[in-house]
């Protein structure tokens, strides 16, 4: 296999496993409008929980493929529960103690650092800052034992399956009464309350689901690299945002909800594949975080830049068109959910229309 293709495959693997994290971040950041930094801690919690269960199970589980796979699944389910609990803490801090979203997330994240050390230290009587998933192997190696497929392809298949299942469940969930109430809470809290929605419960549940997904991602990544560490979640929120923003740039707000979730997976894939090639080019992993941060800043600034520069370009173009005396095709408005302009423009259009109707 040539290096170029294997790098692509590594990127795709990472992209799929981290996509679950990005979907989790999407729930808090976009749907609940809650900038939740718990993610940095709950991702590592997911890895740590999966790690300790795999590591401890060597003492009482036969090393057969079936037993290994069973324990792998158990370890991932436990990670999901731990992540959900982390989200619950942040949710309670925010709704019951009225601590601001960012601070509530930071507090949980900080506390989780110690919790994660303790989780990984279980059985050693102390704290540990990393853990190997142990001699019984991981989810992916166990599947490899029964199916003669290279590990990279197993991860690819499991990654796609996981992402598809997560998207299907969330698509269903956000169509239910509870899911609709959650969307309304994030979109317009005053309206939600006026319609009798318990917005505190909506937020708490949203954060639980979000962090459960983040921990699931952490557990999968731990299984993939056969190792979990207390620092594995550093920068996770920015990576999640990068995937969301890249995804949003390739589709429009008119797309159905499931397509928007799928776009996050594609965003995560694009991001990770780019990063793998950057590593291939010999860039040190420490610098990649800076690159990612800059990338996200630029992406976040694009709507603003469009807003400021757009009219200037339009004017210049109109002036040019006047000179050349050709009729101008006015540019269609950008389809971006975050683009306030679009909403305002359309509202104005319909305003005129409604004035006639009224």
């Amino acid at each position: 296999m040539d290096v170029f293709f294997s790098t692509f495959l590594t990127g795709a693997n990472q992209g799929l496993l981290w996509a679950v994290l990005a979907i989790g971040v999407y729930i808090s950041y976009r749907i609940l409008d809650f900038a939740d930094l718990t993610v940095e801690g709950s991702f590592a919690s997911g890895g740590a929980t999966a790690g300790i269960i795999m590591s401890l199970s060597k003492d009482f589980v036969a090393t057969g493929a079936a037993a290994g796979m069973f324990m792998s699944v158990i370890s991932i389910l436990c990670a999901i529960v731990v992540g959900g609990l982390a989200g619950l803490v942040t949710g309670l801090l925010n709704t019951k103690l009225k601590i601001a979203p960012i601070l509530a997330g930071i507090l949980t994240m900080t506390g989780l650092y110690s919790v994660n050390l303790m989780i990984m230290g279980i059985g050693t009587g102390g704290a540990k800052n990393n853990i190997a998933l142990g001699p019984i192997g991981t989810l992916f190696t166990k599947i490899g034992d029964v199916m003669p497929i290279p590990k990279n392809y197993i991860i690819l298949i499991i990654g796609i399956l996981t992402a598809a299942i997560v998207i299907a469940i969330l698509y269903w969930f956000f169509g239910t009464e509870v899911g609709s109430a959650m969307r309304a809470t994030g979109n317009n809290e005053k309206m939600a309350k006026a319609q009798g929605i318990n917005t505190q419960n909506s937020k708490i549940l949203g954060l639980v689901v979000s962090n459960a997904l983040v921990a699931l991602s952490g557990a999968l990544v731990a299984h993939q690299q056969s190792n979990a560490s207390v620092t594995m979640g550093v920068g996770a929120i920015v990576i999640g945002l990068a995937a969301i923003i890249i995804g949003e740039s390739i589709i429009s707000a008119k797309f159905p909800f499931w397509a928007r979730l799928a776009s996050i997976v594609i965003g995560s894939l694009i991001y990770r594949i780019i990063i793998s090639y950057i590593y291939l080019a010999g860039v040190d992993s420490e610098y990649v975080k800076l690159l990612t941060a800059i990338m996200v800043v630029v992406a976040l600034a694009i709507p603003l830049i469009k807003e400021k520069v757009g009219p200037i370009i339009k004017k210049k173009r109109e002036a040019k068109n006047k000179n050349s005396n050709t009729p101008s095709d006015s540019e269609p408005p950008a389809d971006n959910e975050t683009n306030e302009n679009t909403l305002a423009d359309n509202a104005e259009e319909t305003n005129v229309k409604s004035a006639k109707e009224v």
């Binding site: 169509g175 239910t176 319609q195 009798g196």
Partner: protein, 264 residues
């Protein structure tokens, strides 16, 4: 139907910005009443509605709706009894959700929300019929995001949402103030149509004295956090804008006199 007993509400207690918004407010609303509320800025009109809706809790006093003391009941729990339309058309609806989703949220006001579908098939017909009543052609745009509607359309939709499940009290907080005159009168006549058809007890704040006289069966004027004028029936029907302005002046004159008394 609705009773406010000795309500006191002060904002920013213990700071230099301390402001007494409601001062021993008493109001008894009968079933089917349509009350218009007028008063200057800071008279406590909006605070009164927010106290009824549970956005703020009063320091003193009791709020009783249909025999139930709701004084300490959380906003979302009270919502089962209360329909609200706000001054800002953006507040009453969820912009990122479509028309039928918004209506479905309203159709579950006061009910337990479970894992059933957010919008049920049978509901769509009901929504279509109700939207037809608005006469804004919204029934053909049920899957349009509400953020794409005009302010007037959103306000009409909010009104429909507030009354989809008949509320015990409908609270309208200057709900036409942000609209152009033509749209405002359309929304007002819709308000009258819906409230009289279902005999909904309504409290409507307005800055427009003509509207205050024209609509409803009872009119109250507020100043400094209490009711200073309360008319109903024939007496209200015969009011003129001039009468109201005179009342306004009298009330502010009285205040002025008090100030002078303090100074001397």
């Amino acid at each position: 139907m609705l009773e406010l007993k000795g309500i006191h509400k002060t904002f920013n207690i213990g700071t230099v910005n301390e402001k007494k918004a409601l001062n021993d407010l008493n109001l008894k609303v009968e079933e089917g009443d349509f009350i218009t509320v007028i008063g200057g800025n800071g008279a406590g009109k909006s605070t009164m509605l927010n106290i009824i809706a549970g956005v703020f809790l009063p320091e003193e006093g009791d709020i009783v709706i249909d025999g139930v003391n709701v004084t300490r009941l959380a906003e979302h729990k009270r919502a089962s009894m209360i329909g609200r339309v706000f001054q800002d058309p953006m507040i009453g609806t969820a912009a990122n959700m479509n028309i039928e989703e918004n209506l479905a949220l309203a159709n579950r006001r006061g009910k337990i929300r479970g894992l059933g579908w957010g919008v049920k098939k049978g509901e769509r017909e009901l929504f279509r019929e109700k939207l037809k009543m608005l006469d804004l052609n919204l029934e053909d745009r049920m899957t349009t995001k509400v953020g794409l509607l005009s302010g007037g359309q959103r306000q009409a939709l909010t009104l429909l949402m507030a009354t989809l499940i008949k509320p015990k009290v409908l609270l309208l907080d200057e709900h036409t103030a942000a609209l152009d005159p033509k749209t405002a009168s359309k929304v007002l006549s819709l308000t009258e149509e819906i409230t009289s058809e279902q005999n909904i007890t309504t409290i409507m704040i307005t800055h427009n004295m003509k509207d205050a006289i024209r609509y409803g069966n009872r009119l109250i004027m507020m100043n400094n956090g209490s009711i200073i004028y309360d008319v109903k029936g024939e007496e209200k029907k015969n009011l003129t804008v001039k009468d109201l302005l005179l009342k306004f002046e009298q009330s502010s004159d009285g205040e002025f006199a008090n100030d002078r008394m303090l100074l001397t």
